[in-house]
């Protein structure tokens, strides 16, 4: 995408996204625009210089000179960071989402920096109990999600040491709904007891979107009740809610190598049951994206679907 010409008046470059065109082609009434959001994807607020020697007129000089890219038609590539409406203007801290890998070893990532999802029973058996922990660190069982206790946990709150975690998070800032996006060809979101979450929709790029709400999806979302400053919490300040889920691999990954051949590669994973030297695994790298629907913050969780070669 090229940059937009910013030499004259402000112009708007508007396009339908691929999903918008798909819904329009369906003709089933699903193409209906009912709301809008604003984004600031290109902005780097680190350029905001509130101590500029020349005064406040220069604070955002660099920010305002940011060149803007043309609109992407891929619905997943735009609006990555949204602007937020909060009635109060005297807020100094905003909540973030953070992967909690310190709760215990069952929420930590694999040493490769990814969560590993074993897509069949052979892989599950090989990725088990050899590293001294309760189970292979960072390995989720994709065929039988309840087979081990490993899971992905995301905590929400103010990650600052300047406010005590004993203080309650302002209700305005408590996230009550999460949007989880995952490649539907590879896997799906399940709760700790293996119950599959309901997909809200699957877009034209096979990205499945789940909307999970506090009070409705009780197995997945709950309030963080720990208000102490202990080492099992990744959020240093006041805490809101947590999202905990597992990943079930798709039947296609379980029974076929097609996606591993077309989207993946083969690499050894060390310290498996096969031996310290490791075993060869077919792998697909992907990302699970979690977004707070109300607060807009989002994180990408690195995941590898793995199958013993």
């Amino acid at each position: 995408m090229a940059f937009l010409d910013n030499s004259g008046d402000i112009i708007l470059d508007a396009v339908l996204t691929d999903t918008g065109r798909m819904r329009m082609a369906k003709g089933d009434g699903s193409f209906k625009i009912v709301k809008f959001a604003l984004g600031d994807d290109e902005i780097n607020y680190e350029l905001y210089s509130k101590d500029h020697a020349s005064g406040s007129a220069y604070y955002d000089l660099d920010v305002m000179q940011t060149p803007i890219l043309e609109a992407f038609t891929d619905n997943a590539a735009s609006m990555k960071s949204k602007l937020i409406s909060i009635p109060r203007t005297n807020i100094l801290y905003l909540p973030v989402l953070k992967l909690n890998e310190v709760f215990d070893s069952s929420t930590a990532r694999h040493s490769s920096g990814y969560f590993l999802v074993a897509v069949d029973s052979d892989s599950e058996t090989d990725l088990a109990n050899t590293d001294g922990g309760d189970s292979f660190t960072g390995a989720l069982y994709g065929e039988s999600p309840t087979g081990n206790g490993n899971r992905i946990r995301i905590d929400q709150g103010l990650d600052t040491s300047e406010i005590s975690p004993a203080r309650a998070l302002d209700p305005l800032l408590v996230e009550t709904q999460y949007m989880v996006e995952i490649d539907n060809r590879l896997g799906s979101i399940v709760s700790g007891d293996g119950t599959r979450a309901s997909i809200s929709y699957v877009d034209d790029d096979n990205i499945a979107t789940y909307f999970l709400s506090l009070g409705t999806d009780t197995e997945l979302i709950s309030e963080i009740t720990n208000t102490s400053a202990d080492t099992s919490m990744t959020i240093s300040g006041p805490r809101g809610t947590k999202l905990v889920f597992k990943v079930q691999s798709s039947l296609e990954l379980n029974t076929s190598d097609y996606f591993f051949t077309t989207l993946g590669y083969t690499e050894d994973i060390a310290n498996t049951v096969s031996g310290a030297g490791g075993a060869s695994y077919k792998q697909i790298k992907t990302t699970i994206r979690v977004t707070g629907v109300n607060t807009g913050y989002r994180i990408d969780i690195p995941v590898r679907f793995v199958k013993k070669a």
């Binding site: 680190e46 305002m64 735009s78 609006m79 807020i91 905003l94 909307f211 109300n294």
Partner: protein, 351 residues
């Protein structure tokens, strides 16, 4: 509660219709000459010839127009035609079916001039939709042909210029293919020579128009075949008769192309737009979920809690009720938003 979306109200939407026009010039050297006819596509069936803007074997070639010729089955030429008579009649009937329609008995009607005289031999120039888009703009069509010699029979000078001069305010609406206007030739009094179907993008020209006499001088030939010619010389009649009866459709198309000087018209694209007024109130969208907006959960653009929050808008996302991004608009430069400003961003989607 914090929120990232704002719903449109009923008065935030407006619908408009706009007509866009583009000037389309087609120079005669492209039609014959520049590419040594490598841009001319002929088909095994031989029923028409396609003209491209570049050698047609190239993937960057675009079709400009097709040329073909038709004879009505009641034309006096039909009986003496020896070359592709069936195909010439089929072409005429097909075009008449599409552009003129049927009478009350279900029979295919004939092309007629503004006085009701039948046009029984017609040259068809079918412009590609790539050029005409939704329609040819009425009153903008011009075709120049016959670059040599004086057209003595009608005292017309060359090149012969054909226009739909009455199109803008004198078009007809009784065609099943949309609106059409009459084509006129000449600069010393206008002479009717055919019809232009605006939405279909098809020019119907009197068949004898573009074929010269045996001596090579271009002439004008009137409606209805040789038996009803009113303005053509005997030599011209004979020449046209021999071409129409003895030549293939490809040869006749060649004859048209080599006599074509240029064509120009304006096309029309009908844009139906929905305008979304994104109204951003003073207390809307003053914070950001941009990862760089925070440092340790603290808002980077503020020093104290009492400082006014500020954000910079670069993108507008339009969403469905289930939060799917259906359209996206980008501003050409960041727009500062703070608690002391209100904005209305106008996003237009064209269909």
């Amino acid at each position: 509660m914090a929120t990232t979306f704002k719903n449109f109200l009923s008065n935030d939407l407006a619908n408009t219709r706009t007509l866009l026009h583009e000037a389309i010039p087609v120079t005669g050297t492209i039609v014959s000459g520049t590419y040594s006819d490598n841009n001319i596509k002929e088909y095994g069936h031989g029923m028409f010839q396609s003209v491209y803007d570049y050698p047609y074997l190239s993937s960057s070639a675009n079709q400009i127009f097709d040329v073909t010729f038709g004879l009505a089955n009641n034309s006096s030429l039909s009986a003496s035609t020896t070359n592709q008579i069936a195909k010439k009649c089929n072409i005429y009937n097909q075009m008449a079916q599409t552009l003129v329609g049927y009478d009350q008995t279900g029979s295919i009607k004939k092309f007629t001039d503004s006085n009701g005289n039948e046009i029984r031999d017609a040259l068809f120039v079918n412009f590609a939709r790539l050029l005409t888009k939704d329609e040819i703009k009425k009153g903008s069509f011009s075709l120049m042909a016959l670059t040599g010699g004086v057209i003595n029979a009608l005292s017309l000078s060359h090149p012969l210029t054909i226009t739909d001069t009455s199109g803008a305010n004198g078009y007809r609406v009784d065609s099943p293919a949309g609106e059409y206007g009459y084509l006129y030739a000449g600069d010393r009094g206008l002479i009717e020579v055919g019809q232009l179907y605006y939405q279909a993008g098809i020019a119907v020209l009197s068949g004898g128009l573009v074929y010269g006499s045996a001596g090579g001088a271009p002439v004008y030939c009137e409606y209805g075949g040789p038996d009803s010619h009113t303005a053509a010389s005997t030599a011209a009649t004979a020449s046209f008769q021999s071409v129409a009866t003895g030549s293939s459709l490809n040869v006749m198309a060649d004859g048209f192309r080599t006599r074509l000087h240029n064509v120009s018209f304006n096309n029309t694209t009908e844009l139906n737009s929905t305008i979304y007024f994104c109204r951003v109130n003073h207390n809307d969208f003053n914070y950001s979920s941009n990862p760089t907006y925070l440092t340790g959960s603290k808002i980077r653009v503020k020093t104290r809690a009492s400082d006014a929050p500020v954000t910079y808008i670069t993108t507008i996302g339009l969403y469905s009720a289930d939060n799917e991004l259906l359209a996206v608009a980008k501003l050409s430069e960041p727009l500062r938003k703070s608690a002391d400003t209100e904005l209305t961003l106008r996003v237009r989607l064209d269909y």
